[in-house]
């Protein structure tokens, strides 16, 4: 068994879910997604035992394209993140009833399939295919099962789709160009080619466009808030929890090692943009009236920091980025799930229409608060480790980057606490908040457990990703 098995499993699961019919779709989907978790863990064990589970066959002989799936610490970490989060997200949606749920869950699994593929691909062409494939299901999920005014939603979702697609097409051009230089699109061959500075600049710029939109980095973020708001929660979680990480992962895996010279030359600009995103996202989040939009802007701030760390090109920056990617994945899923729980009961996303929930359901309030605190990077949560490492790496570039990006610590607390205060605290309103179900709390418990465990003992993940990142750092510094 090698890693392609997980992809096959998920693809098969997609069809099985669709065929299972509306009634059993979610169960089947969850089953397959759990199976993929099991598979990933198996692969993890194999990897730790020193067995390489990579997979490679020739797909198209001319042009020379392979189906190459690479298992190293980095991709494995992302694989685990994707499969675990997908399971969580699927499980979290059990409280909802979607019409035509067989299509819905099939799309979710398909998206998981595509994202796993993106993380595993070691051939740029394959990678690009998965990258684009991931866009299709989320488009439909957001479009069909989304909420809000239909016309506005359409506008937002189409913008999201075209915008992200536009960015990635330029990446495709860059890959084509690289293909002509290297004669193959295998990642190893791409790493090996030596490009002139000018070439690197354009390649880097093309990649940047794709990733900056996906991540998103200021000022390419305008699709984000509306899309998050309009999508159904499952879609929002998939988008913010995993899909954004595709962009960040790609920066580390593809952009930096392929064009290290450009990355170094223009490092300050990219870090600056990312850091501006951090501050800007935080400030805009202060005055949001819509809960999901607020969370979206907070996400903008957080991923800005991750991107800044990645662009710092240091080992610490990359490591921090990966750690924070995982941490942010869990946290943001938790936060959006909290928003979803409230929405299930109050049928609103407007913060002004909430309040007084803690009185009615203390358990939920506590869990929400823990996740929220993790999101503001309270020490002993996983996010702190990521944020600390990232800020430290930024400090090593320039103290002012660290200071400016560090304001997220303050501003994050401001908007999060403000939100929490108005959403959860205060006198009981006339709205009845039904206590959260066991199923809902299970999701939270898992998230909190992950966040706290790795917050105190991040060694397993660290050991997993370190060799792979070392490899990449060597590639970046090859010149």
């Amino acid at each position: 068994m090698n890693v392609s098995f997980i992809l096959i499993l998920l693809l098969f699961g997609t069809f099985a879910t669709y065929l299972a019919g509306d009634k059993f779709a979610k169960t089947v989907a969850l089953f397959f997604s759990l199976a993929s978790v099991a598979g990933s863990i198996f692969i993890l064990n194999q990897h730790n035992a020193g067995i390489d589970e990579s997979f490679m066959i020739n797909w198209i002989s001319n042009p020379n394209i392979y189906i190459a799936l690479k298992v190293d610490g980095l991709s494995l970490a992302m694989l685990l993140l994707t499969t675990v989060l997908t399971s969580l997200i699927l499980f979290s949606s059990f409280g909802n009833n979607y019409n035509n749920s067989k299509s819905f869950y099939a799309l979710v699994l398909f998206m998981s399939f595509a994202m796993v593929g993106t993380f595993l691909s070691a051939d740029a062409f394959l990678y690009y295919i998965f990258w684009e494939l991931a866009l299709i299901p989320i488009y439909f999920i957001a479009l069909i099962w989304g909420n809000g005014d239909a016309d506005e939603r359409k506008r937002a979702i189409v913008k999201f789709f075209i915008y992200t697609l536009a960015g990635s097409l330029f990446m495709l051009v860059a890959f084509i160009y690289l293909f002509q230089k290297a004669g193959s699109l295998l990642i190893g061959d791409l790493y090996a080619i030596r490009l002139t500075e000018n070439e690197q600049f354009w390649i880097f710029a093309a990649f940047f466009l794709a990733y900056a939109i996906k991540i998103p980095i200021f000022p390419f973020h305008t699709w984000q808030a509306n899309t998050y708001q309009m999508s159904p929660s499952v879609g929002t979680m998939l988008l913010s929890g995993i899909m954004l990480k595709m962009g960040l992962y790609s920066v580390i895996r593809w952009q930096l090692p392929i064009a290290p010279l450009a990355a170094k030359t223009y490092m300050d600009i990219f870090i600056l943009l990312s850091v501006i995103g951090v501050v800007y996202g935080s400030i805009v989040a202060l005055k949001q009236r819509n809960l999901k939009k607020l969370l979206a802007y907070s996400s903008l701030a957080h991923v800005g920091l991750i991107a800044a760390g990645a662009y710092s090109l240091s080992f610490d920056g990359l490591r921090g980025a990966v750690l924070q990617m995982i941490a942010h994945g869990f946290v943001v899923v938790g936060l959006f799930f909290a928003a979803e729980i409230i929405e299930r009961r109050f049928q609103t996303q407007e913060i002004s229409e909430m309040g007084g929930i803690r009185i009615q359901d203390n358990k939920f309030a506590s869990m929400f608060m823990i996740v929220m605190l993790a999101s503001v990077a309270l020490p002993s949560t996983f996010n702190f480790i990521g944020e600390f490492t990232l800020l430290y790496s930024l400090y090593n570039v320039n103290i002012w980057f660290a200071v400016i990006a560090g304001t997220t610590i303050i501003l994050g607390a401001v908007y999060m606490l403000k939100m929490f205060q108005h959403v959860m605290l205060g006198e009981q309103t006339d709205k009845v908040f039904k206590g959260i179900t066991i199923q809902e709390s299970v999701v939270f418990v898992i998230i909190i457990a992950v966040l706290l465990f790795f917050g105190l003992y991040p060694k397993p993940i660290n050991d997993l990703i370190t060799p792979a990142l070392q490899d990449i750092v060597t590639k970046i510094n090859k010149l």
Partner: protein, 457 residues
């Protein structure tokens, strides 16, 4: 060579079937016949080489494209039976015309002599004029036929003029002779003028800017199945023929010639895609989309390696997507006065399967991976970039982005709007079969692109 004869014979056979009251059997017989011809065409019995004093010149290129044309025609004829249900008395005519059209198409890619080429293009064009105007009680169809006819014969005149100049320069219509002359002896400059006229005529046939104006009007006015024929079969035939001409008859591509191609390609991609944005009629939208695809295919002329493979793949991908698209459109627009996008409202809920097929084919044309349209664009842009036309690639990318806008208009209509009227849910079996088959081919081509791509390598 025998393929052409067989196809012509099949056309006559379908005419005869009407006489012998075998109306119901026409479509099946024709399809079986075409399948047999297809089998023969790709079998080793179909010898490569030149035939009848170089009138026919059969090589891998022509065999591959002939097969593609036959496949597309099979689909189109399969759709005919249902489409012409109301005018059953005329079905043999329609089928025969389509088969003859195929014969013309085959002549256009396997000609060894410009006379065959000219006759081929005329058979093709005249068939299309007839088909465009075939709904003779409908003024829109009349108008389409008239416009197509006027402009088409105008273009034919130009093509003829070009051929004449080629003849004047070389004294021969034979490709081999001309090839030898242009590669060895001095010859008058008329030759180039002739080539340009010929190319312009073909640019008209594939509908590139600024010779594209007919396409939207004609596509819109023609009966839907004719639109399907024009946009899928006719376009790729003309493109293949143009490719063959430019490979065999142009001794060296001068920079200025390449510039012309570049400009036309860019203009087509941009104009086609931008104009399609505001279209409300799916056929018209498809026409503009076709214009942009023509611009894409035109870039093949600038490619140095394996350009035939790229063209074949692109043409196949485009045709298959078009067939699937039209199979659905035929069903949706059946019995309607027009073909506005509103007709698709709520289609995703009422007909999930067909909606999925339509979505997939639109995605394919937009160039979304795993569907063949993506690979087509990838192969094409890869080669274009290799040939050094970076600007062209950038424009192609930008126009691809624009194209997503209108392809998704249909998808949006299908999935986000509610249908006002109930469509009859008795989807004709044959439409479903064609749509799904086309989609399967589409995906298959995406999974195993080398099958087609390396066929001519």
């Amino acid at each position: 060579m025998n393929t052409l004869i067989a196809i012509s014979g099949l056309g006559i056979l379908s005419l005869l079937a009407e006489i012998f009251n075998g109306r119901k059997a026409i479509v099946p017989i024709t399809i079986i016949g075409l399948l047999a011809i297809l089998g023969y065409n790709i079998s080793p019995y179909n010898h490569l080489g030149t035939f009848y004093n170089n009138m026919m010149f059969v090589d891998k290129f022509s065999v591959a494209f002939t097969s593609l044309f036959i496949v597309v025609t099979i689909f189109l004829i399969a759709l005919s039976h249902e489409f012409y249900k109301e005018q059953a008395t005329k079905i043999s005519d329609y089928v025969a015309i389509k088969v003859f059209l195929l014969a013309g198409a085959v002549a256009m890619v396997s000609f060894g002599n410009l006379s065959m080429f000219f006759l081929g293009i005329e058979v093709l064009s005249i068939s299309l004029y007839v088909l465009a105007a075939s709904n003779r009680l409908n003024l829109r169809s009349n108008e389409a036929g008239m416009k197509y006819f006027l402009m088409g014969s105008f273009a034919s005149g130009i093509i003829l003029f070009g051929i004449c100049l080629l003849y004047g320069a070389t004294g021969s219509f034979d490709l081999m002779n001309m090839y030898q002359i242009t590669h060895s002896v001095n010859y008058p400059q008329w030759y180039y003028i002739g080539i340009i006229f010929l190319v312009i005529g073909m640019l008209f046939k594939i509908a590139t800017v600024p010779f594209h104006f007919w396409a939207p009007d004609v596509y819109e006015g023609s009966p839907a199945l004719t639109t399907a024929t024009m946009s899928t079969l006719a376009k790729i035939v003309a493109m293949a023929a143009l490719y063959k001409i430019s490979i065999l008859l142009i001794p060296t591509q001068t920079y200025s010639f390449q510039m012309i191609i570049v400009c036309v390609a860019i203009a087509s991609m941009i104009v086609g895609n931008i104009m399609a944005l505001r279209q409300n009629n799916v056929k018209r939208m498809f026409a503009f989309s076709g214009i942009s695809h023509a611009g894409f295919m035109l870039m093949v002329l600038l490619i140095l390696n394996n350009s035939a493979g790229v063209l074949l793949y692109y043409a196949t991908a485009y045709a298959v997507a078009g067939i699937a698209f039209f199979a659905v459109v035929l069903y949706v627009t059946k019995g309607k006065d027009n073909e506005t996008i509103d007709l698709f409202n709520g289609f995703g809920k009422t007909h999930p399967l067909l909606a999925a097929v339509l979505t997939a084919s639109l995605l394919s044309m937009a160039g979304i991976p795993i569907l063949s349209g993506f690979f087509a664009k990838f192969f094409l842009l890869n080669q274009v970039l290799l040939s050094g036309w970076t600007v062209l690639v950038i424009v192609a990318i930008i126009s691809s982005i624009i194209s997503v806008g209108y392809y998704f208009k249909i998808i949006l209509a299908m999935y986000t709007k509610d249908s006002e009227k109930d469509l009859p849910n008795n989807i004709p079996f044959i439409y479903q079969v064609v749509a799904i088959l086309a989609l399967v081919i589409n995906i298959g081509l995406g999974l195993y692109p080398s099958i087609v791509y390396n066929l001519l390598g």
